[in-house]
Symmetry: C2
């Protein structure tokens, strides 16, 4: 116990809510804890922030160590500081949420996680350690809200996608059916999708055109006041 | 130095970016530091989080102690964890932003602030302690963006306001002139303003009707999917 301070200090952790979409359902990445407290319980990937790393570096490191994931869209969500959220002592957690493209979802459980697994958001999730249910709900609300006014949904799709896949993503996250004609009109009016001369293969009747999101154009138009809206 | 831990720990602070609107310009609340580091420099109100208080309690307490402000709209902004943001040691700061109604702006400097003062956002601000310029910029961007998709602007207006005052607020924060007819059409279409049988007094030619924001109706419509948009 060689690090001493004049006043008691909270420990600081990061926790990561990672969403993935397999073109039909949305999933969340959980790890199974090896150690107490909440030994063997499912939890969000995360852990203590080292005094010599930034919050982002801590989130990246914990994700890589516990799940093998790297190089994904990761954004700060919210900080959780309730007094008794950790049974051991005062722990303040800075939460991040991440979005993973289909196919980037190779997992490897390591260090203090004995298992890392995707759980469908459509099913009942296992009970979670700490206040991780609250953190997950916060991330889920943020995703639902932000999808509508920021083009973050494209982070959950492959680089090339069909309009049906895009619509399906919105329907799954907003949890309701969207009118196909209105949806396409709204999306196309923003002129942020590049139509490709490539088509989805393997469909029974007709082939669907593939599109790419034009991130550069979006950032330019955003500066000029464009409101992304779905 | 009686609080000892196995690993070194960061200190945790809260910092508050408080905006006020006097019906013509937007201001930000700064305090002048009494103590090193950055002695006599202007800074955001804030300070260390006690181990037995939540983050919100810390923000409330620091604001009250340093500026006398209480009972205002206060929302978590972002957490700042760069390694060298405090010259003394590793300090992670959880930032809040607050909105104050005109007339609620009585100030009292106290504890480790020798002075608390409003600065117009239209003028050059004094140079700020720590990374507070960065935190302020983050809050300013959040306010500009969130004003357009959440009815937080009403927190900066008196309970009863005219449509001109509302438009002026948006013009000041978005930093551009808005077309009066379009603005009113958009605002009124959402049906969130209650027209009162009261009028602004003291105008030279004609009197302008006062309105109230219907927060209860907004929360109901929001659940049903209404997108607030200006």
């Amino acid at each position: 116990m060689k690090y001493c301070y004049e006043y008691p200090r909270a420990a600081v952790t990061v926790d990561c809510v990672i969403f993935g979409f397999d073109l039909s359902q949305l999933s969340i990445l959980l790890i199974r804890r090896k150690l107490a407290p909440f030994k063997h319980k499912w939890a969000l990937p995360g852990g203590f922030v080292r005094v010599d790393e930034t919050l982002e570096q801590a989130a990246d490191r914990e994700l890589r160590e516990e799940t093998g994931l790297a190089d994904l869209f990761l954004e700060q969500l919210y900080s959780f500081g309730d007094l008794r959220r950790d049974p051991r002592e005062r722990v303040i957690s800075i939460a991040y949420y991440g979005l993973v493209k289909p196919g980037d979802q190779l997992l490897r459980a390591d260090t203090d996680a004995s298992d890392a697994r995707w759980f469908s958001m459509a099913d009942d999730l296992p009970s979670l350690a700490f206040d991780h249910k609250l953190i997950l709900e916060c991330a889920w609300k943020r995703l639902q809200a932000k999808m509508r006014y920021q083009p973050i949904g494209f982070e959950l799709l492959p680089e090339k996608f069909t309009l049906s896949q895009l619509q399906k993503l919105y329907e799954v996250i907003l949890n309701r059916q969207l009118d196909k004609r209105n949806f396409r009109k709204k999306i196309m009016a923003m002129q942020l999708l590049i139509p490709l001369e490539e088509f989805q293969t393997g469909l029974p009747n007709r082939s669907a055109r593939l599109y790419q999101f034009d991130g550069r154009k979006y950032r330019k138009l955003e500066k000029e006041g464009l409101l992304f809206e779905v």
